[in-house]
Amino acid sequence: MSEVESHREVLHRTLAAADVSPSVEKSTVILRASGENADENRNLYQSVNRTLLKRLETRPLRDCTHITGEMRALSDKFHRHVLRQATKQQAEEPTVLFSLPRSDRNAASRILRWNRESWGEESSILDHLSAFDILSQGSIQLWAADGDPGVQYSLFDNELVLMQSAHAIRQHVKYVWFLQSEALHGILSKRADELIQTSESLSSGRFTRFNLNLSDPAAMDILAMLRDAPGLAPSELPPRLRGHERVTELLDDLDSCGFIERTRNGFQLARAGFEYLRYLGAT
């Protein structure tokens, strides 16, 4: 079996799983395809982003919807840039749906821990913070689904579809296709709407609160104090920091970023914390 045939077979299975009829499949144009290969995946994503950015130069995108397992669309720097450009122009907000346990939805620090586990080592903390920055602007609709959303895909501009083959949770490499078809877009758009109906909307406030906590002078002081000390117990924090009404929340947020580590007696600065201070130019 040739590679092209193999691609087509996997695509056929993927579309069938999304209840797409053979006639719609037949009329769908494959703009680009990628095998189960990290480099090929990356090249295809870049090609999609270039197409979107090109379209954004002349007009707003008509839609931008991601049905994902782990909101990894936001882990891609190039795509975050596309989203920022899209939200500057777009009347309709981009939508991201991902799978998240109910117990992790209320605090941004829990979402961050979940994302760090899901996105893996290839994403730095700055990628996570940049994603949170976009989410905190309130210009993206974020939805949390209870379980595996099933077939995963992205929809753009009423005719473009980024389709992923079935894959296990936290499996980053898969077959991916960049497709063009208004009919396919329509079917998957309806499917996305149905999924959103059963999902929970996550408002931007939790990300804003997290971001502002991270920018609080008290959080900065804690990081810099730990830089200059081998470790600190909460009781050793200066009265000004101990008296901060959200000090526990600040410490938890810094911990979720991996900037500080819990020790038997308290906290110490982690390498990521040193790097973050250096990144800010606060050293």
């Binding site: 975050r80 913070l129 602007q137 804003t208 502002l212 200059d228 800010l280 606060a282």
Partner: protein
């Protein structure tokens, strides 16, 4: 305490407080403010709308002193009552809330409590900017206004201070307000840096 004397003592207290930060941070904090004031962080309006008790209220003096305190650092601080001249208050407030960089409410009177709740609804409607900063006495911690503002952690949440600190003789409120403004600016600064980083990466492809 005389107004000028109070503001000077607040400034000294803030400088002492920041000087106690670990090495590197005082310079960094000053740099963030400078970048903001010189337009390198935020492109739009950089004024601060300071709401709270009106003339005649016993706490008006602290609000007024806070305006002078913030102005001395180069912030443009706006009071609604100096601007609405004959227009409907609700119209002016809607517009002001959208225009200014930050809206700060000293929740010390029935009117300012109502104002904070009104802005909360606007914040929910506008959604995009966490620009509402409310300072509330700790006595109100179990009250309706605090609970509305803090509910569900949807907003940055009010800052709580003992009522005794909402006073011209005490520097804590001034420090808390200044640091809250600073945190907001620092957040914008990081946001801008992250956006530039993503843009640079996309251009490198």
């Amino acid at each position: 305490m005389e107004l000028i004397e109070a503001i000077e003592s607040w400034k000294r207290a803030l400088e002492d407080c920041w000087a106690k930060s670990p090495p590197g941070l005082p310079e960094y904090k000053s740099r963030v403010i400078k970048d903001f004031q010189e337009g390198r962080i935020h492109d739009g309006d950089r004024s601060i709308w300071l709401c709270g008790p009106g003339r005649g209220h016993k706490h008006y003096g602290v609000r007024s002193a806070l305006r002078d305190f913030l102005s001395s650092f180069g912030f443009v601080v706006v009071f609604t009552e100096d601007h609405y001249s004959g227009r409907l208050l609700s119209e002016v407030e809607d517009q002001q809330f959208k225009v200014h960089y930050l809206t700060i409410v000293l929740c010390l009177s029935p009117g300012s409590a109502g104002e904070a709740i009104n802005f909360l609804h606007q914040e929910r409607t506008i959604g995009r900017f966490a620009k509402l900063k409310v300072f509330i006495p700790s006595d109100y911690k179990d009250g309706y206004v605090y609970r509305c503002l803090d509910e569900g952690g949807m907003l940055p949440g009010p800052r709580i201070l003992p009522e005794s600190q909402f006073d011209i003789s005490s520097p804590e409120l001034a420090i808390a307000v200044y640091e809250t403004i600073w945190a907001h600016i620092e957040n914008d600064s990081r946001s801008r840096q992250l956006a530039l980083r993503d843009e640079a990466a996309s251009q490198a492809v």
